[in-house]
Every structure is written in C-alpha cells, then in structure tokens.
Symmetry: C2
Subunit: 319 residues, 2 copies
C-alpha cells in the first residue's frame, strides 16, 4: 500500500510516493500548465502521478490515497478551491473530486501553507513538539498553526493568515487592503520594494543604487547581500523587517503559545543574519514579567515540506 503527496504551485507541480510510514520513495515534478481550463490542471496532476507510479512499477490500485496541497482559499470539506491567486483557472473548482475521479484513489485537499506546516511538524523542524507555528517568507507571508497537535483550520478554512496580522496600525498599505500588515514590511517582495522606495526617494549613499540602476529592480536577496557587506540603507530595511517579524513572534506567543516558531520560504536563504535579527527583535519586545523560552528556528525540509505534509495528512485520514 502506498500514498501520494502532491504540491501544486503556479509554476510547478511536485509529486512523491510514500510508504504508510510516510517515507518518501521517489519524487518527480512537471510544469503547471498555464491555462484557463481547470481540467488541464487535473490532467497534469494525474499524468505526473501516473508516470511516477509507472517508473516505480506501482499500480495505481495500490495507492490508498493522495494528499494534495494547493494555493487557497478553499473549502476543505467540499474539496473546493475557491480562488488561487497564481492559478487563475482554479475558481470555485472541485479539484479534489476531479483528481480523484480521474486517477482513482480518494484525494484529501489542503491549503499549501498548511501542508508544508504539517510536513515540518511531522518530519521536520517541529517533529519533537505538539504546539508549533509555521511562517513562510516568500512573495507574501503565509502561515500555519498547530495547537493540541492538530492543524487549526478556522471556521472557513482560512486560519493562519499570519502575514496579515496588523503590526503598525495606519502603516504601509498591504495588497490585502489593510494598513500595516506584517507582510507589508517583511515578505521578500516587500523588502525589495521598500529598499527601492528608499533608494529612489533618498539621497543616502547605498551600494544598492548601482544595482537598481543596472537592473531597474531589486530583490530581497540583493538587500540581504548588501546589508551583509555593510551597506547602511540595506541594513535599515533588513532591521525593519526583522523587527516586524520579532513583533509578530511576540503576538503569536501570546495567542497560542507554541513551543517553536518555524520560518520557511525562499527568504530563509538569507541565513543567520535573518534568524538572529528575528530572535533579537523578539527579545527586545517580549514582556519582562517572566522569561520566555520560545524557540525560533528555520524549517528543515526545504521544498519537499509540501509533498511530505500532504502525504502525511492523507495517511492520517486514510490509514
């Protein structure tokens, strides 16, 4: 008996075959079709899965279930993707049911950030704890919350929108329409935008100016790299972002008191300066009433977290 874990993204689809103990046996990936027709997405997921099974000489009837992580928001009970910002074809679409009907095994749908959170919780940076919060730092800031050893989905499957917790009321306008969200200061794309704003508006000397003039844009990686090389403007943008993430950790601690907050996503490539910056900001802002032992760390499964978590959820539901 085997399980499939699938991680659907706007650019790529990743799939893995798992044992009932959630050991990854093999994995593969394929481009996500750029299309308006949701049926093409279903075909692509099923083709990738069948090919992977074929390569491993596993007949599809030996697959007990598939876990499928997808961008959201979604209605999990109905297996419906309501809207997927990077996959416009998926709009009020019963993705779970369609994949199941075409491939065979039952499909358990989950939000992609929650799937990655569950992967880290069961096999990665959170595997020794029962209370964990997960934050992904990418274009936006996504989140997942584990309380009492279970994912918190919320009333309408939209819990864990931690990047949209307001840190500075009346502050920077976020894409969501709120002002002062954590995401508006500390996601990879907003760190880059913030640096570009300051370089353009300010006469302050900065080694980022030449990069911006050459490429007409900056990335979060540029900002972290130049901060690391001593550029003060870049460092001020990094400091602002880590301060916001430290404040977010304070608020997370007071809400669900996790033992561990796990940061994930492309931005953790910035390494120790990011992690140490967040830890220092947390210590600066946390209460003095008692000492806290919250662990703030990086994810350990890399880009496989989503597949692993999706498979682990399917194993729990269909064992």
């Amino acid at each position: 008996m085997f399980y499939l874990g699938v991680d659907l993204g706007g650019t790529n689809i990743k799939a893995g075959i798992f044992s009932p103990e959630c050991q990854l046996r093999d994995k593969s990936s394929a481009p996500c079709p750029q299309t308006d027709d949701p049926a093409e997405i279903v075909v692509a997921i099923c083709d990738l899965s069948q090919q992977l099974l074929g390569d491993n000489n596993i007949p599809v009837k030996e697959v007990r279930a598939m876990g499928l992580g997808s961008p959201g928001p979604m209605n999990l009970k109905e297996g419906l993707v309501l809207k997927a910002p990077n996959i416009p074809a998926l709009h009020n679409y019963p993705l779970g049911r369609k994949v199941s009907r075409r491939l065979g095994p039952p499909v358990l749908l989950e939000n992609d950030a929650n799937a990655a959170c569950w992967g880290e919780f069961t096999q990665g940076a959170g595997k020794e704890v029962t209370e964990m919060v997960f934050l992904t730092l990418g274009t936006g800031i996504g989140g997942g919350v584990i309380a009492n050893g279970k994912l918190v989905h919320g009333w309408k499957d939209e819990a864990g929108e931690l990047g949209h917790m307001i840190i500075y009321p009346g502050g920077r306008l976020c894409g969501c329409g709120q002002k002062g969200c954590a995401e508006a200061y500390a996601s990879a794309s907003n760190i880059a935008l913030r640096a570009m704003d300051i370089v353009r508006q300010d006469n302050q000397a900065s080694s980022l100016r030449a990069v911006l003039e050459q490429h007409q844009t900056l990335t979060a990686k540029d900002v972290f790299d130049h901060a690391g090389q001593g550029d003060r403007l870049a460092q001020s943008v990094v400091d602002e972002a880590t301060d916001v993430l430290g404040l977010l950790c304070v608020n997370v601690l007071h809400f669900s008191q996790p033992q561990r907050i796990v940061f994930s996503g492309g931005m953790i490539g910035a390494g120790a300066p990011l992690l140490e910056g967040i830890r220092r900001a947390f210590q600066r802002h946390i209460w003095t009433m008692k000492s806290e032992t919250l662990e703030i760390c990086f994810a350990s499964l890399g880009s496989d977290a989503g597949l692993i978590g999706a498979a682990a959820l399917a194993i729990d539901a269909y064992n």
Copy 2:
C-alpha cells in the same frame, strides 16, 4: 451523580452543583480568605462546597469530580498554581491535589479565563459554534481560544494572553513590561488611567474634571457614562479603546479564524456604545480583499460563566 464547579477569585469563591448534563442545581459563594497560608484557601473551598452539598442533601461521595477555575499562571498537568496575582498565598501550590485530598472527589484545575471561556462556549454566547475566541475586559484583558472545538492551552498552559498582543509597538507601557499591549489601552483600569492622564495634562474642557476633583480618581464607568453624555474628552478615550479592540479582533481573525469573538467582564456593562464601537473599528481595519462575517458579541452567562465552565470541563474529563 453530581459535579461541582468552583470559581476562585481574589475577593470571592463561588461554587455550584451540577447534573451530569451540566445543569446548575444550586450555587453559593463565600469570601476568599485574605491570608498568606494556602491551606486556608483549601479549607475555604472545601467548606463552601460541603455546605452547598449539605444544603442540597447530597453526600460528597455522590460527587464524581470538581472543576476548579483559579487565577494563573499554572501547570495544569500537575494541578499546580504557579502564581496568582490577586491571591499571593498561591505560589507553586498544588491546589488541585490539596482540595481533592481534603474533599474526596478528583479535582480538575483550569485557568479562570479558560474556564469562563469554556462556559460561554458550551452553554452561553458560543454554544452554536466550534471556533471561538473569548476576551474578558476587566482590570486586565484575559482571553481564551477554542480551536477544533477544544481549548488551546499552549505549550506551558499560557496561551490566550490576548491582552498582551502588541497593537502599537513602542506605545504605552503595560504592567507586563511590554509597550503598546492591547491591555494598556483598553482594559477597564487603563481606560480610567488614560482619562485621568489626559484630564490632568490637558486644558481641554471635560465633565470628567469635576468627578476627578471630587473623588481623586476615575473609573471606566465614569468614562463611558460621560462619553454617553457627550463629553468629547471621554469619547476620545472610548474611541481609542474600541479602536484597539477592533484591531485586536482583526489580528485574532487572521490567526485562528473564529466564527465568533465573545467579549466578557465588567466593562461590557457599558453596553451598545462599546460593542458598536468595536464592530465599527473592526470594519475600518479589516482587509478589503474579501468580506468577513466574523460575529463580535457579548457574553451571556454573566458571572456564572466560570463555575459553569469549570463544571463542564470536569464532566468531560470524568464522565
């Protein structure tokens, strides 16, 4: 078979007898002894319980269990009160075990805010929902979180410290040592303090000035009353508090996405101006990306919520 629910406070101890269906049959209360000796607290809880049982002709051996709500923080597994700000006698004290040993039935200890939260969730303002957040507005701001139909205790039984979520980084100093906590703006005592500060520092005309001169102090009730009578200074303090509570609701929604946020505590006596103020502030700050249907309402069990919740938890644990 019967159950006891007890709500221990710094001023009073309340106790109730409950059926296995958690129907309140009778209740009573007694002053909490002002003492340094924790054994006197234990005796007072047991005496009150025994008298209540006696009045109802119920022998103690017909009591299956007691639920006991106490100020915290605490270690629930060990039945230990670590520290109770208003009951200094309780310091690293095994309150649950001591009461159980003296009275007979097993005792389930719970944080008082969590007990009241569970009472409202099972029999009060939250009884139709599975995802709820509870906020008590009193001297401080306490909280309780229900996710997946269960209380979220956190790693060290200190989840739900929602009054210490930071709303204005660098803002008003809170008693906890942080700056800009929700509690520093919106608890009953801080609303009164804020109004006193402004009356004293400012030349602005206010009907609160005469009250302050007469009593040398103000209460949150004074502030709400004078705001209701059109005093602009009082209204500005109320507006600031409701704005902070609306922002807190936004952050709560994005964390665990409850269907309902239930406000409780003495301050809800302020009625519609408070509730409508919080709802308007929520609408002002919440994202425009999608419409939200979060319900913000007042608790419905009054001061019995704590007993009821404590009993309900004991019934769940020892049925």
